[in-house]
């Protein structure tokens, strides 16, 4: 009778692999929920600052430090079904994309016995994700308002990608490294993109008040942190459930 057990785990192609469907299920649910939360928080807290800045970008308002400047209170609240609907959609796409990578790394961590994954440890995974794709890139390229001066787009995208890669590796080494060599490499990788430096514009020419740019960057980061903590906790909880259902034990 127990002889049947030897064929319990036949080699599966990735397309029919139950492991793939477990990863995709957790990631799509967690990513979509995080995307919806991101969309709501961005529409409430970030979009009004962006719309306010667009009044300066389009020239409807002109920034001046002279006496009797433009009122800082502008009526920009409102819902544009097409524009904001697309934002909800793309917010979902972005966070499902991030969740697919996050849960893929969680699966590898489970397989290697790097530690237990659940909602509580998922919070740490979420913070690491936030640091990797939002906070570290923002140290060189703060979330930018439309209309601000910036360097060549392609160079910024390359620096952004390199920073995300280096910071992600650094988080992994810091969390799962077992010796000083790994931790020292993590510190070097954290610092390297900022020692190289992000591409910066030659001159500042933007028409937008710096106060708005500061408000926009900090709100975008605050929303990012809240969303990533939620994404990490939810992905951790869903992944723990999938592992329990699959009968795959997790490290203590």
């Amino acid at each position: 009778m127990p002889r049947h057990m030897t064929c319990a785990t036949p080699p599966a192609s990735p397309a029919t692999d139950p492991m793939l469907s477990r990863i995709l299920t957790s990631a799509v649910i967690a990513g979509f929920a995080a995307g919806l939360l991101a969309a709501v928080l961005q529409l409430v807290f970030v979009q009004p600052v962006l719309l306010h800045a667009e009044l300066y970008e389009s020239g409807q308002l002109i920034h001046s430090s002279a006496e009797g400047g433009v009122s800082a209170q502008q009526d920009v609240v409102g819902f544009d079904p097409l524009r904001d609907g697309l934002s909800v959609l793309f917010s979902g796409v972005v966070y499902v994309g991030y969740a697919l990578i996050l849960v893929a790394v969680m699966a590898v961590a489970t397989d290697r016995g790097w530690g237990r994954i659940d909602a509580r440890t998922g919070i740490l995974w979420g913070i690491a994700g936030f640091v990797t794709v939002q906070f570290a890139p923002a140290l060189g390229l703060p979330p930018e308002l439309p209309g601000v001066a910036a360097a060549d787009l392609q160079q910024r995208q390359i620096w952004w990608g390199g920073t995300v890669l280096a910071t992600g590796l650094a988080c992994g080494l810091l969390a799962f490294g077992r010796n000083w060599m790994a931790w020292a490499s993590a510190i070097v990788l954290f610092a390297l993109p900022h020692l190289i430096g992000a591409p910066q514009p030659e001159v500042y020419t933007g028409p937008t008040p710096p106060e708005l740019a500061g408000e926009f960057a900090t709100r975008a980061l605050g929303v990012g942190l809240a969303v990533w903590i939620s994404l990490g906790a939810l992905a951790g909880a869903l992944w723990q459930r999938e592992m329990r259902e699959a009968g795959i034990p997790q490290a203590a």
Binding site: T6, T9, P10, P11, A12, P14, D17, P18, M19, L20, R22, I23, L24, A27, A39, Q42, V46, Q47, L50, D84, L86, S87, L89, F90, S91, V93, V94, V96, G97, Y98, A99, L100, I101, V103, A104, V105, A107, V108, T110, D111, V133, Q134, P137, A138, L141, P142, P143, E144, L145, P146, A150, L153, Q157, W160, F216, A220, L221, V223, G224, I248
Partner: protein, 57 residues
């Protein structure tokens, strides 16, 4: 013993391939939503790109 080894190694292969494929899907979505500069895509994803801190414009 042989059974245990076989099961473990085939499940590891499954995890590596599945995790790789999932991460690749994720990367494609992020590049499309966050980085590709085609006009229609840029316009549609504009606000999310700014609010999520992707380099834009």
């Amino acid at each position: 013993m042989a059974t245990t080894t076989l099961t473990t190694s085939s499940s590891s292969t499954g995890i590596a391939a599945s995790a790789g494929l999932s991460a690749l899907f994720g990367l494609v979505l992020i590049v499309l939503a966050g980085h590709v500069q085609a006009d229609a895509l840029h316009a549609a994803a504009h606000d999310v790109r700014h609010a999520t801190g992707f380099p834009c414009h």
